[in-house]
Symmetry: C2
DNA sequence: ACCTGAACACCGTTCAAGT
DNA sequence: ACCTGAACACCGTTCAAGT
């Protein structure tokens, strides 16, 4: 787009407008390689051949930089979830695919996922664009559940409440998987992840495998089988 | 036990053996009041009227102190879970009570909970007493599920796998609740927590409210209702 | 506008030295 | 044994000054 003739860029050239994106990219790279706690503004400056305070022209502080990192993550995350849901033809298979993709994203980008959900950035950083992108990713799940309810596959009721439960379950699985806390002998992680997502489905499904509808939840359900006395 | 006559303790007396516990107590207090990231070894020293390096006589480093904090937390946690399970008479009610108690503990001690599960301490700190106590708390859940399987209330299969799923779901709910990410308009947190634990139960229950047994999970279940065409 | 270098206030940790 | 004070290497952030 520039009309000026291309010119050899000196090693110490100013970044002139590209610096903001360069800072975010470098932060992502460092986080991916060494984790969030290894990210220092000084090192970012060194990597970019820039003073360690140049960053403050573009971000209020370190948290604001992390907010930008998280915002970029949410964008890719939302697209991955949406693609999985539609690619699997929606329905039950779409739900399972979305759940699996969620956890796969976290396992592939553990540090990035932690920045997005680990409370490193408070809700009102970066003009709350962070919160907006996060909400957009969450809405993929809410919309999917509404559609599944319309198809009669998911139990009726407040879709937001259902979505929060599903999110929490899958998020918990992702966090524990990232932390290595699901690694046990004789239990494959992939198998466990698939099993977990299926159990979440059973938790929200309108029908179970018998083909009969569930009753609505109520405070004190009649017991299906007599309870064994223990003690 | 001491044979020496009680004696006025000078303000700057050495801690002589009590220091280790005093350090842990002070750390817990600071964490509870201001969060993990506000904990500095220097401040712990000031609060205890002790040099800021005195701590290194009892702990290898800051992580080891945090491991001790987490270990104490796991002990209280395990007792709370066990009490809830037995106090509610085990069975389905015991499961729901244990789940509710789990999340309540996290909400009552958010920073302490983060130290226990947030990856602040690596698995092999403090001679791995940390890992041992964490495992003991987890076993309360595993044992409960085994008992529920014997009662015919929970679907058969690997109890460890089931327990990992239940743990992940409840942990995710706890983490999001702590982070304020479950706070939405028109959805009460208490109600949502109860709802989530019930959905987890539905995910692992052997029978649903129709009183009919589930089939075993298999890769491609016969669809209960025809799927609606959308798009 | 955009970038810089020196300086400030804070960390965790080490170590020789004291009782 | 247990504790101390000075010192080291490292942070994020501020600010007057340069182009």
């Amino acid at each position: 787009v520039s009309t000026a003739a291309p010119q050899r860029k000196p090693r110490n050239a100013y970044h002139h407008g590209h610096l903001r994106q360069a800072l975010v990219d470098q932060a992502v790279q460092t986080i991916r390689a060494d984790g969030v706690e290894a990210l220092t503004l000084r090192d970012v400056g060194v990597q970019l051949r820039v003073s360690r305070t140049a960053l403050y022209r573009h971000f209020a502080d370190k948290q604001a930089l992390l907010a930008a990192v998280a915002t970029e993550g949410f964008r890719a995350f939302r697209i991955a979830l949406s693609t999985a849901w539609e690619g699997a033809g929606r329905g039950r298979a779409g739900f399972l695919a979305q759940g699996g993709t969620y956890i796969r994203f976290a396992l592939d980008n553990p540090s990035h996922y932690r920045v997005m959900f680990g409370g490193y950035v408070s809700k009102d950083d970066g003009e709350s664009e962070f919160a907006r992108e996060g909400e957009a990713a969450f809405r993929v799940l809410v919309d999917a559940l509404i559609e599944l309810q319309q198809q009669g596959l998911v139990r009726p009721g407040d879709a937001l409440q259902l979505a929060l439960f599903v999110w929490a379950s899958v998020h918990g699985t992702a966090m524990l998987a990232i932390g290595g806390q699901l690694r046990r002998r004789d239990v494959s992680l992939d198998e466990l992840v698939a099993f977990a997502v299926e159990r979440v489905w059973d938790g929200v499904a309108a029908y179970n495998e018998t083909g009969l509808p569930r009753r609505q939840a109520r405070p004190h359900a009649r017991r299906a089988v007599p309870r064994a006395r223990t003690r």
